[in-house]
């Protein structure tokens, strides 16, 4: 868990740097990390705003990127403790990384709730702290690309994905998601391509 939290904290720094470089006030950069807490959608929304896209397009892309969390939330719903309010709040700790850690600690059908909550809270703290540091460092640090921070993000996804590919259905789902993204992305936004990949991943999971 610690390497994942460290990696996400570093991405928080790169997010803070990129968001402030794109003209977002430092306070809003940090508030966004605290409330949205979904790195890929934050990067997507910031990049759309930075390239002159409409706020509506930024919100839509971010929301579609996060639509997968409806299914992910359902996947963890039956292992989360407590009543509706408590589960609603605990579900905010679901991000790709905490979900994957919980699945690895349990099973895809029954992710480990303790891992989800512990890692989710640690990831939220790291993401928030990293974002704040990045927002302050932004003007000082210079070009994040020069440091390879942009490559660290997909490298993280590779490192998370690889250990899952030990079962045939998971390999099939990964290939389906990859294919859906490759087909959709030239014609749609990243948010739509990722939603398509989510649907493809669901569709290929047969008995």
């Amino acid at each position: 868990m610690i390497p994942v939290v460290a990696a996400v904290s570093i991405f928080g720094v790169s997010y803070g740097v990129l968001a402030t470089a794109a003209g977002m006030p430092a306070w809003l950069t940090v508030v966004m990390s605290a409330t949205v807490f979904a790195g890929s959608s934050q990067f997507a929304a910031v990049s759309i705003l930075a390239s002159g896209g409409s706020p509506a397009a930024a919100v839509l892309s971010g929301a579609l990127l996060n639509s997968r969390y409806l299914a992910t939330g359902t996947a963890v719903a039956r292992v989360l403790p407590g009543g509706r309010v408590k589960r609603f709040l605990l579900a905010q700790l679901v991000v790709d990384e905490s979900y994957v850690l919980a699945v690895n600690a349990g099973t895809p059908e029954a992710p480990d709730a303790k891992t989800l909550i512990t890692s989710g809270a640690a990831l939220w703290t790291g993401w928030l702290a990293g974002s704040a540091i990045g927002a302050l460092l932004g003007p000082v640090l210079g070009d994040p690309d020069k440091l390879g921070l942009d490559a660290a993000f997909p490298a993280l996804f590779v490192a998370l994905l690889w250990p899952m590919l030990d079962r045939r259905p998971a390999i099939r789902a990964a290939l389906a998601g990859l294919a859906a993204a490759a087909v959709l992305l030239p014609f749609t936004s990243p948010g739509v391509a990722l939603a398509g990949a989510a649907v493809a991943g669901l569709a290929v999971m047969r008995k």
């Binding site: 990696a7 809003l28 929304a45 409806l70 992910t72 998971a170 389906a176 990243p190």
Partner: protein, 99 residues
């Protein structure tokens, strides 16, 4: 910009929370949900590597960094080494003049 962030925050909190409020789901659904993480992670890698303009991947320093991460993951290198290795390769190539 503030309104966009607020809207995205409210929507995201609602999405995450709504998923958690659904009661027990059938095994069939649970099995299908197991496909979400690998599908999305693979797609996220693709989206990260694709060009913003035409949606097609291209060979550059970032792609080389991801290639390094794949090799490191395949030889079972520790998680942090995969991530840092990817960033270092991309940064090194850029320092050497590769875009």
């Amino acid at each position: 910009m503030t309104a966009a962030v607020a809207a995205l925050a409210v929507i995201t909190i609602a999405i995450k929370g709504a998923g958690s409020l659904l009661e027990r789901i059938p095994d069939e659904v649970a099995r299908r949900l197991a496909g979400l993480a690998p599908a999305l992670l693979a797609a996220l890698v693709y989206v990260e590597l694709a060009d913003n303009d035409n949606g097609l991947p291209h060979a550059d320093a970032k792609a080389a960094g991801v290639g390094a991460a794949v090799v490191l993951a395949a030889v079972k290198a520790p998680f942090a080494i995969c991530v840092i290795g990817g960033a270092v390769v991309a940064a090194g190539l850029r320092a050497a003049g590769v875009s």
